[in-house]
């Protein structure tokens, strides 16, 4: 398969993730959609690594996975903290930063 097909799949997954981030209001689902966007970037990186016969893109994809895991840990910690304080789990109602 030409590499272009992989890049088109990557673009479609990225845009689905963008649509999810823009439309959903549950921060948990927004984190899931961020994962979709990071995974789309990973697919593009691995596709370019294959196109150039160079493994460095795969290293980049692995580092992106590490950063995504960190983002998930902090984001889920925030959601648990919100739930503990009985705040609404809804990004439209969380407008104020003050604690």
């Amino acid at each position: 398969m030409p590499i272009t097909w992989y890049l088109i799949v990557s673009a479609m997954v990225f845009c689905i993730g963008v649509g999810g981030v823009l439309t959903r209001r549950n921060p948990l689902v927004i984190l899931l959609c961020l994962e979709l966007m990071l995974n789309a970037a990973n697919l593009a990186l691995v596709a370019f690594a294959r196109a150039h016969g160079n493994q460095e893109g795969q290293i980049f994809a692995l580092i992106v996975m590490v950063v995504a895991a960190c983002e998930v840990a902090v984001g889920l910690g925030l959601i648990v903290a919100l739930y503990r304080r009985r705040l609404p789990i809804d990004v439209d109602e969380l407008r104020e930063l003050q604690g």
């Binding site: 398969m1 272009t4 997954v13 845009c15 840990a73 304080r85």
Partner: protein, 207 residues
């Protein structure tokens, strides 16, 4: 054969992504994301990235998604429909924006005129993308990135624990602790204890 596997894997990945965005129940959205990750791992295998595919299945679909499932089970709750304040207008704008982005990226990819994209990719050597090769790169050329990644994971773990810990004074004031019951023996009634725990909730170190 490669074409069939590509289309099957791409279909699984895309339907998983669509399910993540469209399903109302966050638990089902997490399961759809697991499906998407498995399809993506198959695409990685087709691109000769064996180690990345294995890490994707083990770390993402295994560990990270388990974290999500636990938090969904802890927080729970359905996603409410869009409020009338925004209505379907916002959703239409979001869809238009996402579609415009897709068209733009597709034009950028197809219109780039890179000949390397029209082929199956340049030649690869034996052992391309195997754990041995990736591990050697990580411990030689990308050692600094590897060490910084470990430090970043440590900081994120500590930060998550600090964010999600149980703070004193933020508990429900109606909740009675053992210390309140012991104090109620001195003062007499449970009502005193409740007032005591209210004072406790007002600020740390009040007792």
């Amino acid at each position: 054969m490669a074409e069939v596997s590509f289309f099957v894997a791409a279909l699984i990945a895309l339907s998983g992504a669509g399910g993540t965005v469209l399903l109302r129940n966050p638990f089902y959205a997490v399961l759809a994301l697991v499906c998407h990750l498995l399809g993506l791992a198959a695409l990685f295998l087709l691109l000769r990235a064996e180690f990345v595919a294995a890490a994707q299945v083990i770390i993402y679909a295994g560990a990270v998604m388990v974290l999500y499932v636990f938090v969904v089970a802890y927080v729970g709750g359905q996603d409410r429909p869009l409020s009338p304040r925004h209505g379907p207008g916002m959703r239409a704008i979001a869809l238009v924006f996402a579609t415009a982005l897709l068209v733009e990226i597709a034009i950028a990819v197809i219109g780039s005129g890179l000949t390397v994209l029209d082929e199956e990719g340049s030649g690869f050597f034996a052992g391309f993308g195997t754990p041995a090769e990736i591990g050697e790169l990580f411990l030689t050329k990308f050692l600094l990135a590897f060490e910084i990644a470990s430090l970043l994971l440590l900081i994120a773990a500590v930060g998550a624990v600090i964010l999600a810990r149980r703070r004193s004074g933020l508990d429900d004031p109606r909740e009675l602790s053992v210390a309140d019951l012991m104090r109620s023996g001195e003062k007499g009634t449970i009502g005193d204890a409740e007032r005591g725990s209210l004072e406790e909730a007002a600020g740390p170190g009040s007792h």
